[in-house]
């Protein structure tokens, strides 16, 4: 983790940028160095840590930021940091400069399924450059049961892939293995969600060349879960601020409604939820163990939903309108809650870890 001063500066500057520039282009975001925040300096990045990525995500959550930061800085970079030298050299500098966007398909929901086409796999495309195709050489066995870099072809569906339409490559999880696939081989189909602050896509893979990557899909999903927890903290904090301002401002029965204890205690519960989320997410960002990821995702995911739902309620009629931002927070919270392992899945996993049971 970077020193406190640098973090404070990063927070201040990112907050200023995000609140003054509406819908910034990716080029402007990249000019700030954000996509390369964790990319080592030798690959053109800033060489900072995941905690700083999470700091930026929290600020983005506050303003319900859209754009491919989560896709590329969390998912793409997360997979590529552990990739082969060739893969790193091919992609990381281009991501850092903003020239390339790499996303990942790691949680496709119930409908997504992938198979590895064994007949299509071959030995000579290992460590291939961006966009390279796997060869058609016949090799017995599939990449799924031969771990390590052996090329493959992937068939099946991927879904809920963020920003696939603007991506140059996509990291695809098949089982726990990761593969790099050129986005030009795919036809993204938009999946409009109620949350319009995210841009999600599905695609069919029909025997596309897939460059095996070292690393585990579960680890990448955990990283994404922690990143979403940071997003939840930002979103919940902003929604609570908005609600407190309203409770101070809105008058009924001759006084600000925030003076009524029934509402004060609901606001206090929102803060309690936020404080829990903030602690859990901050810890996971600096020590991203599987348990920390599940704790952060379940606690922050629930907190954001609670705070956002109360934000709608406590604003009364205006909170239920399209005009007001309350529903945008609630919709993002609901998507976050369901994505990258829902609350129930994370809780069950935690319990199994705690009880020493088989996963």
């Amino acid at each position: 983790m970077a020193d406190p001063e640098l973090r404070a500066t990063l927070r201040e500057e990112s907050a200023r940028f995000l609140t003054t520039v509406a819908d910034p282009s990716w080029a402007r975001v990249a000019a700030l160095g954000w996509p390369g925040i964790e990319i080592p300096e030798e690959h053109g990045g800033l060489g900072l840590s995941f905690a700083e990525t999470c700091l930026l995500l929290e600020e983005q959550g506050r303003v319900l930021h859209r754009g491919p930061y989560f896709a590329t800085a969390v998912l793409g970079v997360g997979a590529l940091l552990g990739a082969t030298e060739e893969q790193r050299a091919a992609w990381l500098p281009r991501i850092a400069s903003g020239e390339a966007i790499v996303t990942a398909a790691v949680d496709g929901g119930a409908g997504a399924a992938l198979t590895l086409d064994a007949r299509g796999s071959g030995p000579d495309s290992r460590g291939s450059a961006p966009g390279a195709r796997g060869s058609a050489a016949d090799t017995p066995g599939s990449a799924a049961d031969t771990p390590g870099p052996a090329p493959a072809r992937l068939t099946g569906a991927i879904a809920f892939v963020p920003d696939l339409d603007v991506a140059d490559a996509v990291v695809v999880a098949a089982g726990d293995a990761l593969f790099l696939v050129s986005a030009s081989d795919l036809e993204p189909v938009a999946q409009p969600t109620h949350d319009r602050t995210r841009s999600l896509f599905s695609a069919h893979l029909r025997g596309v060349a897939a460059d095996p990557m070292p690393g585990s899909a579960q680890t990448l999903r955990d990283r994404a879960a922690i990143a979403l927890a940071a997003d939840c903290v930002g979103g919940a904090a902003a929604a609570l601020d908005m609600t407190v301002a309203y409770l101070q401002d809105r008058r009924q029965f001759g006084k600000p409604i925030g003076a009524f204890q029934a509402l004060q205690h609901r606001a206090a519960d929102m803060l309690l939820a936020l404080e829990n989320a903030r602690s859990a997410a901050a810890h996971a960002a600096t020590d991203p163990t599987p348990a920390a990821a599940s704790i952060a995702k379940s606690v922050a995911g629930e907190a954001f939903v609670h705070v956002a739902a109360e934000t709608v309620s406590l604003h009364g009629g205006i909170g239920f309108t399209w005009e007001h931002d309350a529903h945008r927070f609630l919709k993002r919270a609901k998507l976050n809650q369901a994505w990258m392992g829902d609350t129930g899945a994370h809780r069950e996993r935690l319990a199994r870890l705690a009880l020493g049971m088989e996963a």
């Binding site: 606001a267 309690l272 602690s279 901050a282 810890h283 069950e348 935690l350 319990a351």
Partner: protein, 399 residues
């Protein structure tokens, strides 16, 4: 208790390598925690409980662990906050007896006289605390609970002595106490916060009637205290006359130190028993999810607690952040016990001899469940804490 892969590694208190200190404390505890004390305390009488409390406190004192948070000049450990935290964690992990009988003396009374007392008062009271004198806290009254400042016990100055009349209630350990931190009204005409003075009452004074009240478990944990023309010398007033409210805040601030972390760690020890019992029942997915939620929230409570202590270290005091910890801890105490009750089913309904001296986690779940209200109600009920959070942390207008 070793760290499970489900637990968070918390508490990098920087600067010092705490490993040797932790090893020293753990080794001392392994050698000194009275063997079989839980068995001794199961079905124990009140006298047996007091005897073990005294024995363990004397052992702690001999080891230099009785008052780790006090300055060395008053016989305390003078330990850094980081070392106090390690000690708190290890006491919990060693399943040492909880020294409930001496708690008010060690924390509330000591903090009060250290911060607001005179040197003469420090010299009069502090050594006795280390010698095992028990203290109680005479704050609440039948008409002054959450609204503490409305208290009506009167103290009238007559020459150099106050004459006190009134009634206190919920006074924990009054039946064992040598001294009492007493609040009484010295100016009935002033606004309610400005007419209160803070005294140390000698529990051997005449005119006192102490009547134990049984808790919902039938235990005489707290008392009613009736004061009928009880005399307190002027020199036993802490701080200026009518300025007791500021001293009260100082006393209550003492409920926020590293011993809160000891409580949290003790809750984790109880949680470990819950996990063993849950595993044995072959839990379904719904139960696993509840256990997972509980696990997450108890681990996060540790983080909240460490954040509060970091604030204490940084600023020398904590503000309303302590309300967050109090609410979270007390409600988790109830949740652990409630889940324990459901895991154990009818078996947990059977009445067993109670284990004394275990704080609030005996793992006799119905006992712990009922006891948990001691935490949601006392020390400013959770409703009061939520009001504090709303007004002082969120800045909502006063109701």
């Amino acid at each position: 208790m070793s760290l499970s892969p489900a637990d968070l590694e918390v508490g990098d208190w920087g600067g010092e390598d705490l490993g040797p200190w932790r090893a020293e404390v753990a080794a001392w505890l392994a050698a000194n925690v009275p063997a079989g004390w839980r068995e001794r305390m199961t079905g124990a009488t009140e006298e047996e409980y007091v005897a073990l409390q005294r024995e363990w406190f004397a052992t702690l004192r001999a080891g230099g662990y009785a008052a780790p948070h006090w300055p060395a000049e008053w016989g305390g450990g003078g330990l850094s906050l980081a070392r106090q935290i390690v000690l708190a964690e290890e006491l919990a992990r060693a399943r040492a007896p909880h020294i409930g009988l001496f708690h008010i003396g060690l924390y509330h009374a000591a903090a009060t006289v250290l911060h607001a007392g005179t040197d003469a008062q420090r010299a009069k009271y502090l050594p006795g605390i280390l010698d095992g004198e028990v203290w109680c806290q005479g704050f609440s009254e039948p008409g002054a609970g959450s609204d503490l400042a409305s208290l009506q016990t009167r103290a009238r100055l007559d020459g150099d002595t106050y004459v006190v009349n009134g009634q206190k209630i919920w006074t924990t350990n009054a039946q064992h106490a040598r001294w009492c931190l007493l609040l009484a009204r010295t100016n009935p005409d002033a606004p309610k916060h400005r007419g209160i003075s803070y005294f140390v009452l000698d529990m051997r004074a005449s005119g006192l009637d102490v009547r134990p009240i049984a808790t919902s478990l039938g235990e005489p944990e707290f008392c009613e205290v009736f004061l009928d023309d009880v005399m307190i010398h002027e020199s036993d007033r802490i701080g200026a006359e009518n300025e007791g409210w500021a001293v009260i805040l100082r006393t209550l601030a003492e409920e926020r130190g590293p011993h809160v972390l000891e409580n949290v760690e003790r809750l984790r020890v109880a949680r470990a028993t819950l996990y063993e019992q849950a595993r044995a029942m072959d839990p379904d997915a719904a139960m696993l999810r509840e256990l997972g939620a509980l696990h997450a929230d108890t681990e996060v409570l540790r983080l909240l607690c460490h954040r509060m202590l970091a604030e204490l270290e940084r600023a020398g005091g904590v503000g309303p952040q302590s309300s967050v910890v109090k609410v979270a801890y007390s409600e988790l105490l109830a949740r652990v016990a409630d889940l324990g009750l459901r895991v154990r089913g009818l078996d947990a309904q059977l009445e067993r001899p109670m284990t004394l001296g275990v704080h609030y986690e005996s793992t006799d779940w119905l006992v712990d469940y009922l006891n948990s209200w001691a935490w949601t109600i006392s020390g400013g009920s959770n409703e009061i804490q939520r009001t504090i959070i709303a007004e002082r942390m969120l800045g909502l207008p006063r109701g």
